[in-house]
């Protein structure tokens, strides 16, 4: 997502990421990645739980899709940093607003199951009814 930050801003959106772990861990990640948008720390998983994000099964590590996702990430130049306290926590991505309006919801089903930047950008530009991916 960070590679597409300028496109989101040009489309009129704010961008933020939420992560687990402590501040030192998050600061190191921001410095390593050059992230331009706010990185919020949810060490207690309050927002993760409110967003109904899932926990993976350890068996997901063996899925072929997980292997392919790691290959894609490496090919795109991304490397995995520390996993932290909740290695089985899955992520998600959302497009909200203006106001408390859901435009797009993607709750990851397993590792590497992420909404594409193009999908998120379309949700920003499109508005309208909420889409759950």
């Amino acid at each position: 997502m960070r590679d597409h930050y300028d496109e989101f801003v040009a489309a009129g959106a704010r961008v933020a990421a939420i992560g687990l772990g402590d501040r030192a861990y998050a600061q190191a990640f921001r410095e390593q990645t050059g992230m331009q948008f706010p990185l919020l720390i949810d060490a207690q998983r309050v927002a993760y739980r409110a967003a109904q994000l899932r926990m993976a099964s350890p068996l997901h590590l063996l899925y072929r899709a997980n292997f392919r996702a790691r290959q894609r990430a490496r090919a795109a130049g991304h490397s995995q940093h520390r996993l932290g306290q909740h290695p089985l926590q899955l992520g998600g991505s959302f497009v909200f607003g203006p106001g408390d309006v859901d435009r797009f919801i993607h709750v990851s089903e397993t590792f590497g199951d992420n909404a594409t930047p193009a999908t998120l950008l379309a949700a920003v530009r499109g508005g309208g009814d909420a889409v759950r991916a």
Binding site: G19, Q52, R82, D100
Partner: protein, 42 residues
């Protein structure tokens, strides 16, 4: 009627890496916001 996910998250306050407390709803109050929950830092 089910509240939106945005409404469910709006009142939560989290600190950013510089220690500033941000209410999540502020992010999308007057503009669309893309919010990514990371699986890990990487």
């Amino acid at each position: 009627m089910q509240a939106s996910m945005a409404a469910a998250l709006a009142a939560i306050r989290l600190d950013d890496v510089d220690g500033r407390s941000i209410e999540l709803g502020w992010l999308w109050r007057d503009a669309p916001a893309v919010i990514a929950f990371l699986r890990h830092y990487g």
